[in-house]
Symmetry: C2
Subunit: 479 residues, 2 copies
């Protein structure tokens, strides 16, 4: 067991240094590596397999609501970017510019897309002529680039992978419904696939996307009480469409401007998975996105028949699950900690004694529970247990979110919680951005996360200025 | 039928202007659109759905041979690109440089990846320590950028989508086998999925990839007698590994250098599909990558029961095929030409008379054949017919390739064929790059395509210089 011990010791404990624990998990579970390109990262096979499972699941959800995938250029001419003034103001400081190509200095700078509203608008301007051409419900899976000074694997890097949906609609109502529908798709995905609960709602004016009329957000709570903006859905009204001169002939034969949305989630979700579910032994993966759902570890594998039996079990499970049989010459102990580190939901142990009894041992990653089960109907047993793992992971995460949600009714309470109790703070707000600024300054970084769809009435006056409150807001520190 | 006629007339005939026919198909079948970013294109939903089907099929083939997907940064620091001298010489003239980011001028230029050997090598240098870490069989699906002056949809654009595989091996033999295995994966994919036959073989020294020891290629023949480099697989030996200082401890406990390969195919394949299979009515799609495999067109759809019956048929076929029921208010004639233009392999017509008889009409896109079939066992019938469509498309394409392959035994014949008979020219070659250059100049562009794995002996001397021949080479013009 010496090797096992060594591996586990190699991770910093969450309680000692959460930030170091996080990067340790990223590296030791072989999710990513650093590259010499400043601010960019390499997603290694195990990390990328999680992303592929995310894509596969989410893309199917998109297609069910009529989304069509497309691909837009990587580069945006400066003149195109500048057509929507709020948008360019928000993004210009953080873009990378291509100024030379094919051995020559370019006449016009091209920026690497930080997001692609401008390109989609240019295309929509050409293809939307009549109400019959609407709605357009487009999406692309790609990488985007936003220059970052300080980076952190998956959470903040100059380049990251994401999907960006862009839609155009005939009416305001349809576009607003689309915005909320996609937020719901994300919420369902977080819950049903990632086993992650979250607070959802509307961003304040100060925190909304550059150029949007309104931004909706999903905010899961990390294990350490820091929130993460886990995905956003924006309603644009007609602003972009007007800037990019998009118009269509309506049912009334008059020229009209369409209504627009955009929405996106990124490889940040892998960061959320790590920080919501992980523990001091490493990663804990939700079964639905785990690259390996069941790791079979033979016990005393040199004994006659053990490996054959393990191969038999592998063949049975292979049809239904992502399963790995590890018949390498490492010790079982080494394998145990390896698959713990990599967050494999179920470990299946099978040795000579088990063979005799027609059984095997299933060990859950989420709670360490060991169960001896008959080899008969193993597929059903594993299926049920994986469903239990998912459910338990969700409940644990929900408990953490609830325990880390506090209520403040005055400034003193707010500052005390901000100082001493990491998590969400529910507090009333007058609607003034100045109060958001004040709270951020006084707390050293607590910002409004969102105005939830259902607002608990936790007071009458703004927690900051004491004027009559307009909304209950979730506040918190963020990644 | 006025509308139908109008649509068909809108495409230039192949015989009148093949190049115009090609771009007409790209645009009218709604595969792509132009963007204001010079040299880049937008892949529209119908075109992108073809690419998704290609990816899905090919990625499964990759995974069967043990390929793991990863993601590497978009940007390459200039110093990293320059480590392999031949490589940088080949690519430097056609890259785009990022010189400003986050509002500041960068200290070191970053190029947008034209290909990612350098990044993979940098990573391999860190993760390969022992022979136990080998082989590494990595791949990424991404976009790359190579500055192009003249562009053509799918065939040549500054940015394009592709996959690039990069592998490292313990022995020369294993790496060489990998190179050829991936060429075989491509060849099988072209044949079994795209219904496209091709010539395969080794590139001459002059035509090989910048930095490779040897390059293998798959070269399908377009309808107009012009070849396309449809995919390449490169063997690198130890050159890159040495430049990037990649070394591992071998089984003999000595420090060794690994052997490397890379291989890729791109959205060019969509260009190949168009130009191999298309006709004057538009696109003809191989069933396995067609976004719509069966288009159901109701006849006299206002008549009682017709739409219901069509929906019933749709529900039956939906489980097995990608099927679309078009109940829009366009005329059947309009729909016929629409799905012809989009290359849908099978059209299913169903009207009141068919309902009475318990039948429907299946019309094949590849040969226009109409068959009345019973509604009973329709899934089996459609399955069989789609397999026939694939087979017939392959045979037609093979016939075209064979008919457009000529043999030249002396320079006069070579020049005559190059002038008058578009296609491949089989001719002997001395092995000297100067003769390749001469032939290219004299013909205005005919280049060596490849040295096939099995060389027909079509003469004893080089078709150009008359010296003793070393190889039989396929020659031709290329996209």
């Amino acid at each position: 067991m010496a090797k096992q011990k060594k591996m586990v010791e190699a991770i910093t404990s969450m309680d000692v240094d959460f930030s170091k624990w996080y990067t340790d998990v990223c590296r030791k579970a072989e999710l990513m590596d650093y590259a010499s390109t400043k601010g960019c990262m390499i997603i290694e096979p195990y990390g990328y397999a999680i992303w592929e499972n995310i894509q596969h699941d989410l893309d199917a959800r998109f297609k069910k609501v009529g989304v069509q995938n497309v691909y837009m250029p990587l580069l945006i001419p400066e003149s195109l970017l500048q057509k929507e003034k709020d948008h360019v103001k928000g993004f210009a400081p953080e873009v990378a510019w291509v100024t030379e190509g094919g051995g020559e200095k370019l006449q016009e700078r091209l920026c690497i897309r930080p997001t692609s509203e401008t390109l989609f608008c240019e295309h929509f301007q050409k293809v939307i002529k009549s109400w019959r051409d609407l709605p357009k419900i487009y999406n692309q899976w790609c990488s985007v680039l936003r220059w970052e000074k300080t980076t952190r694997p998956f959470l903040r890097s100059s380049e990251f992978l994401w999907q960006e949906g862009h839609t155009m609609h005939e009416t305001e109502q349809e576009a607003e419904e689309m915005t909320l529908r996609m937020l719901q798709v994300y919420t369902d995905f977080y819950k049903d696939t990632l086993a992650i609960p979250a607070v959802t709602g509307k961003k304040t004016e100060k925190e909304k996307f550059a150029g949007a009329v309104s931004t909706y957000t999903i905010e899961p709570m990390m294990h350490n009480g820091v929130a993460l903006q886990g995905g956003t859905s924006h309603y644009f009204g007609k602003d972009f469409a007007e800037s990019y001169e998009i118009a269509f002939t309506g049912r009334d034969n008059k020229l009209q401007t369409p209504y627009q949305t955009s929405w996106g989630v990124s490889t940040r979700m892998i960061g959320a998975i790590i920080m919501v579910h992980g523990d001091d032994n490493g990663l804990v993966l939700p079964p639905k996105v785990a690259p390996i759902q069941v790791a079979i570890v033979p016990i005393a594998q040199h004994k006659e028949g053990v490996l054959d039996k393990c191969r038999e079990v592998y063949s049975e499970l292979y049809e239904t699950f992502r399963v790995k049989l590890d018949d390498s010459d490492q010790t079982p102990g080494w394998k145990f900690s390896q698959y713990e580190m990599q967050g494999v939901p179920l470990r299946l142990e099978l040795g000579p004694k088990d063979m005799e009894q027609g059984q095997c041992v299933l060990v859950r990653r989420d709670n360490g529970e060991k169960t001896v089960v008959p080899l008969e109907n193993l597929t059903d047993t594993v299926e049920k247990m994986l469903a239990d793992v998912h459910q338990n992971m969700y409940e644990k995460a929900l408990k953490n979110l609830e325990e880390k949600t506090f209520t403040a009714t005055n400034l003193e309470e707010f500052l005390d919680i901000a100082e001493n109790k990491p998590g969400f703070i529910k507090a009333m707000w007058c609607g003034d951005a100045a109060c958001e600024e004040t709270l951020k300054e006084k707390t050293g970084g607590v910002k409004s996360r969102c105005i939830p769809f259902v607002e608990d009435h936790v007071g009458d006056v703004c927690v900051c200025c004491g004027k009559p409150a307009k909304h209950m807001v979730y506040w918190g520190r963020q990644y």
